[in-house]
Amino acid sequence: MDLTLTVNGSERTVSIEPDETLLRVLRERLKLTGTKEGCSEGECGACTVLVDGRPVDSCIMPAPVVAGASVTTIEGLTGPDGSLSPVQQAFVDNFAVQCGFCTPGFVVTLTALLDENPMPTEQEVKTSLSGNLCRCTGYATIVAAVMAATGRGSA
C-alpha cells in the first residue's frame, strides 16, 4: 500500500507493507536513522518522534495510522541553517549526552514538553521522562539541560 505523510516538513509517499511500524518507515524506507530502536515494545523511548506535535513511540505505531499526519524526527529539529535547537544545544552544553543512543528520543520528548509547558518544574521534567530510558547518565544532566534550556540553571 502507499502511505503519504509529511516528514520534517516535506510531503513523502512510500510504498509499505500494511503491518509496518512508523519506525520502520522512517529508518528503512526514508533512511532517517536518527530515530533509534531499543526495545520494539514502547518501553525505552529511543524511537520517540512527534506526530502532529505529540510524542509517540514510533516502534509500536502502525504506519497506516499516521497517513496524512505531520511527523517530526530528531533530524527535523535542527534549523534550516544546521543550527541546533535550544534543547539540542542544552544537551551539548550540559553534558547530557554519553553514548547518545537514547538522546534523540529524549530530545524529541523534551521538545514536546517545552512546547506545551515552557517553564516546567524539575519534577514535571522527570515525570515527562517516565517513558524514556537512559542507561548512561543517571538522568541528572538531562534534567539540568532542560532547566538550562528554559533559562534556569548553570550552563
Binding site: 532517517l32 536513522t33 536518527g34 530515530t35 533509534k36 530502536e37 531499543g38 526495545c39 520494539s40 515494545e41 518501553e43 525505552c44 529511543a46 524526527t73 530528531i74 533530524e75 535542527t78 541546533l84 539540542q88 544545544q89 544537551f91 551539548v92 552544553d93 553534558f95 549526552v97 554519553q98 553514548c99 547518545g100 543512543f101 537514547c102 538522546t103 534523540p104 530530545v107 521534567v125 522527570k126 515525570t127 521522562l129 517516565s130 524514556n132 530510558l133 537512559c134 542507561r135 548512561c136 547518565t137 543517571g138 538522568y139 541528572a140 544532566t141 538531562i142 534534567v143
Partner: protein, 764 residues
C-alpha cells in the same frame, strides 16, 4: 594547563544530538542481506533433528545454516568450550542452533522461527547449588578434553567447576578459636543485565579471502581474535571496523554476533547484517554473574578482625566465558579496606544450564563488596560497636599488603576519604527517625593495566589526528579524556584534535574500554607519542626559522621561541614544510602499566594476579523504607571518590552519577532472575526494571585528587568504581532502617518487609 582539567563539551555531542551519528545498527552497505539466529527454546537436551526445509521455503530466504556449515571448533575467553552452533547437546535456552540469511530482517527473523528442532529435553541445572550437588549431571561431560586458551596456563577445573581460585593462609582455624565472637553470613546474588540501549549487532563482509566486520564494540582487537578463533582463521584474516556504540558496560567486550555475521557473509556471498531483538539480546547476553557467598569472620570484643573465611560460587552459565578470571577478584576485596587476620578463600566458577555470564562494569565487585560491607556491619553490631568507628579503627593504611602479596603504597587515601565523607555530612546526623537508616560502604578498585597504542599525525591544516583503536563507549574517555590530553600535549584547543574510529587494519592496538583504563592508558600513550612529535616539529621549525630546536617550544597553537609569546610558525606551516624536509610529521606511542610486585605463591588458580593503579572510595546512603509497601526511598547519597586528576570534571561527574544509577538499579530493581526451570523470568525491558528519572536522588559528590605519577596529568581510572559500593551502602542503610538482615541482591520490597518483621521481633 589550558585544556586538561576543564569541562570541555565532548567531541561527539553535536553529531549525537542531531541524530547523525552512525551506530552499529545504522551502518549498512549496498547489497546487504540480513541474518537471524534460531535459538534453543529449551535449557538442556539432546538435539534429535534439525529441519530447515520450512524456513528455506519462506519468502526472501537465501540460506539456512547449521553446525554442519561451520568449522568444527570450540573456543572461549579462558576455556575452549563453546561451539558457534549446538549440534548434539543444548546447554542453555538461547543457544544458537541455526542461522537464516534473507532479503529483509523481518523475513530472516520469521524464517529463523520456522526452523524445526527436535530436542530430547534433559533436567536442567538452574543454580550453582544444583551444579555442585553430589551426583549432579555434568553440563560438559567431556570437560577434561577441553584446552585452555592459547597463552594461558591451565588452572584448576573439574566437572561443573570451570575455574577455582584458592587462598589458604596458615593458622586460619586456630585464629577462629581465639576470636571472642564469630559471625557467619550467607548472601544470594541475582544476575544484572547491562541493558545498553543499542541491541547487539554486527555486519559481516567477505572478500579477497578476508572477513570484515562492522561493529559497535568496546574491544575491536578482541573481537578480531575471538572471531578468528571461532572461524579457525588467523587474526589478521579478520578486520574489525568500529562505529558509535550505544552503550556496552562490559557486555560488548567479547564477541556475540560478530563470528556469525562473518561466517554468514562467506556462506551467502553477500554482506550480512544481524541485529538482536531485545528478547534475544537478553537471552544471549553475558550478564553480570549471580553468586552465592558464605562468609565467616572472627572478631575480638575490642573490634579486631582476627580470622576470615570466604567461599564464593559464581554462576558462569553454560560456557566458561571470562568467569574463570573473575574467580580472582575476591583476593583483592576480602582482605582489603580493613586489616584482617589469617584468611581462607575458595572462589569457584560453576557451569549451569543458563546463558553464559560475563563482564559488567565493576566485574564481581558489586556483590563482593556487598558481601564484605554487609558482613562488616554485622561484625560491628555483634560486638556493639558503632559501624563507622569499627571501620575507621580497622582501616588499612599506606603500605597495606593485600592477600595477593601486593602492597598498596597509597592506601591511606582511604582514611582521607572517610574524613571527607564525615566533613560533608556527619555520620551520626543521618538515618534519624522512624523507618530511616544510614549505611556506608567503601571500596578499593583498580585501573586496568592492559596495553594501548596511538598514532598521531599532524595534518597540513595544523590539526592533530589521533588514530586509536580505543573505543568511545559513551564514557567520554576518548571524546573527552584522550582528546583533551592530546590537545594539551600539542598546545592546541580540543577542537583541533581529529579522532578516528577503530579499525584493526590500522594502527592503535587497544585492550578495550574496560576497567576504567582508557583515559589513563591511552592518555599516557598519547603523551609518549607527543614527545616524538614535538621533537620533530621543533626540528622542522628550527630549519625553517634558522633556530636551534632546543630554543623552540610547541605551544600556543604553533611554535614559539622559549620565553616569547609570539607564535613564529603555525602547526600548519610546520606540517607543510615537513613534506619537503623528511616527510609528514607523525609519531606513535604506547603504554601498559608496569605490573606491581605480588606473591605468586599467595594463591592457586589466580588468573588475574594484580590490582594496579588503585583508587579509593567511600559511599554513604540514607534511606527511608515504607513499612506498608516495602519500597525504599533514597533520601541522600554521598560519593567520595579518588580520581587522581579529573581531566574533564563534568565528564567525571557524569561517570559517577551514571555509575551510581546503575548501582541503585542493581540494589533495588534490576534482578535478572532464573526460575527453577533454568529460564530467565525477565525477557523484555518492560519486565526488567531499569531506573527511570523519577527514581534518582541527587548524588552528592566529593572528588579527591591524588595525581598518579605515571598517569597523563595524574589521571587514574574513574568510570567503574562508582557502581561498585552502591548495593553495599544501600543494603547497610536498609538493614539499619529495618533492624533486620539484608542478604540478597536485588533487595526487593518483600525482602524489606521481611527485614522489618525480623527487626521488630528482635526488638521485643
Amino acid at each position: 594547563m589550558t585544556v586538561v582539567g576543564r569541562s570541555v563539551p565532548r567531541a561527539d555531542a553535536a553529531t549525537k544530538v542531531r541524530g547523525e551519528a552512525t551506530y552499529g545498527v545504522d551502518f549498512e552497505v549496498a547489497g546487504t542481506l540480513y541474518g537471524a539466529l534460531a535459538l534453543s527454546t529449551v535449557p538442556a537436551g539432546h538435539i534429535r533433528s534439525i529441519d530447515t526445509s520450512a524456513a528455506e521455503a519462506m519468502p526472501g530466504v537465501r540460506g539456512v545454516f547449521t553446525a554442519a556449515d561451520a568449522p568444527d571448533i570450540r573456543s572461549g575467553l579462558a576455556v575452549n568450550d563453546q561451539p558457534l552452533f549446538a549440534s548434539d547437546v543444548v546447554r542453555f535456552e538461547g543457544e544458537a542452533i541455526a542461522a537464516v540469511v534473507a532479503e529483509t530482517m523481518a523475513q530472516a527473523r520469521t524464517a529463523a522461527a520456522a526452523v524445526r528442532v527436535e530436542i530430547e529435553e534433559m533436567e536442567a541445572i538452574a543454580t550453582v547449588e544444583e551444579a555442585l550437588a553430589e551426583g549432579a549431571p555434568l553440563i560438559h561431560d567431556d570437560w577434561h578434553t577441553y584446552s585452555v586458551r592459547d597463552g594461558l596456563p591451565d588452572f584448576p577445573r573439574a566437572g561443573n567447576v570451570c575455574g577455582e581460585m584458592t587462598v589458604d593462609q596458615a593458622g586460619v582455624d586456630e585464629a577462629f578459636e581465639n576470636a571472642d565472637v564469630v559471625v557467619e553470613d550467607v548472601f544470594h546474588i541475582d544476575r544484572q543485565y547491562q541493558a545498553y540501549l543499542e541491541p547487539k549487532n554486527a555486519t559481516g563482509l567477505y572478500a579477497d579471502g578476508r572477513y570484515t566486520v562492522h561493529v559497535a564494540h568496546q574491544q575491536p582487537w578482541n573481537v578480531r581474535d575471538r572471531t578468528a578463533a571461532a572461524l579457525g582463521v588467523r587474526p589478521s584474516d579478520v578486520r574489525i571496523v568500529g562505529h558509535h556504540i550505544g552503550g556496552g558496560f562490559g557486555a560488548k567486550l567479547d564477541t556475540a554476533l560478530e563470528p556469525y555475521a562473518a561466517l554468514l557473509a562467506r556462506l551467502a556471498g553477500a554482506p550480512v547484517k544481524m541485529v538482536h531483538d531485545r528478547t534475544d539480546d537478553i537471552l544471549t547476553c553475558a550478564s553480570r554473574e549471580g553468586a552465592v557467598i558464605r562468609m565467616r569472620s572472627g572478631v575480638t570484643n575490642d573490634g579486631r578482625i582476627v580470622a576470615r573465611e570466604f567461599l564464593c560460587d559464581m554462576d558462569a552459565g553454560a560456557y566458561a566465558g571470562d568467569t574463570p578470571f573473575l574467580t580472582s577478584i575476591p583476593i583483592f576485596v576480602v582482605g582489603s579496606l580493613y586489616r584482617v587476620g589469617p584468611t581462607r578463600i575458595v572462589s569457584r566458577a560453576v557451569y549451569t544450564n543458563t546463558a553464559p555470564t560475563g563482564a559488567f562494569r565493576g566485574v564481581s565487585g558489586t556483590y563482593l563488596y556487598f558481601a564484605l560491607e554487609r558482613h562488616t556491619d554485622n561484625l560491628a553490631n555483634a560486638i556493639g560497636m558503632d559501624r563507622r568507628e569499627f571501620r575507621v579503627q580497622n582501616l588499612m593504611s599506606d603500605g597495606h599488603v593485600m592477600l595477593n602479596g601486593q602492597a598498596l603504597d597509597d592506601a591511606g587515601i582511604l582514611t582521607t576519604a572517610f574524613d571527607k565523607a564525615e566533613q560533608h555530612v556527619p555520620w551520626r546526623e543521618l538515618g534519624k527517625g522512624p523507618n530511616r537508616g544510614v549505611g556506608m560502604a567503601a571500596a578499593v578498585w583498580l585501573t586496568n593495566p592492559m596495553a594501548g597504542e596511538v598514532a598521531l599525525q599532524l595534518h597540513t591544516d595544523g590539526r592533530l589526528g589521533v588514530v586509536t583503536g580505543a573505543t568511545e563507549n559513551g564514557s567520554g574517555a576518548v571524546a573527552m579524556g584522550v582528546r583533551q590530553v592530546a590537545a594539551e600535549e600539542l598546545g592546541i584547543t580540543a577542537d583541533e584534535v581529529v579522532l578516528t574510529m577503530p579499525d584493526t587494519d590500522m594502527q592503535g592496538f587497544d585492550a578495550g574500554s574496560q576497567g576504567s583504563r582508557t583515559t589513563h592508558i591511552v592518555g599516557r600513550a598519547v603523551h609518549n607519542a607527543a614527545v616524538g612529535m614535538r621533537e620533530r616539529i621543533r626540528t622542522v621549525a628550527g630549519q625553517v626559522l634558522g633556530q636551534d630546536p632546543d630554543d623552540l617550544e610547541v605551544a600556543g597553537g604553533g611554535v614559539r621561541i622559549k620565553g616569547e609569546d609570539d607564535v613564529r610558525m603555525t602547526l600548519s606551516d610546520v606540517a607543510r614544510a615537513a613534506l619537503g624536509a623528511g616527510g609528514p610529521i607523525a609519531s606513535t606511542g604506547s603504554y601498559a602499566t608496569p605490573a606491581p610486585k605480588f606473591d605468586p605463591e599467595a594463591a592457586t588458580g589466580l588468573l588475574f594476579p594484580i590490582w594496579p593503579t588503585p583508587t579509593y572510595h567511600v559511599h554513604v546512603a540514607e534511606v527511608e523504607v515504607d513499612p506498608v509497601t516495602g519500597e525504599v526511598k533514597v533520601l541522600r547519597y554521598i560519593v567520595v571518590q579518588e580520581v587522581g586528576k579529573a581531566i574533564n570534571p563534568a565528564g567525571v561527574m557524569g561517570q559517577i552519577v551514571g555509575g551510581v544509577a546503575q548501582g541503585l538499579g542493581y540494589a533495588l530493581y534490576e534482578g535478572l532472575q532464573i526460575g527453577p526451570d533454568a529460564r530467565y523470568r525477565q525477557r523484555t525491558l518492560e519486565a526488567y526494571r531499569l531506573p527511570i528519572a523519577l527514581d534518582m536522588p541527587e548524588i552528592e559528590v566529593v572528588l579527591l585528587e591524588h595525581p598518579a605519577p605515571e598517569g597523563p596529568y595524574g589521571a587514574k581510572g574513574v568510570a567503574e568504581p562508582p557502581v561498585v559500593p552502591v548495593a553495599a551502602a544501600i543494603g547497610n542503610a536498609i538493614a539499619d532502617a529495618t533492624g533486620g538482615s539484608i542478604d540478597r541482591v536485588p533487595i526487593t520490597p518483600e525482602d524489606v518487609l521481611d527485614a522489618l518483621e525480623q527487626g521488630s521481633e528482635e526488638r521485643t
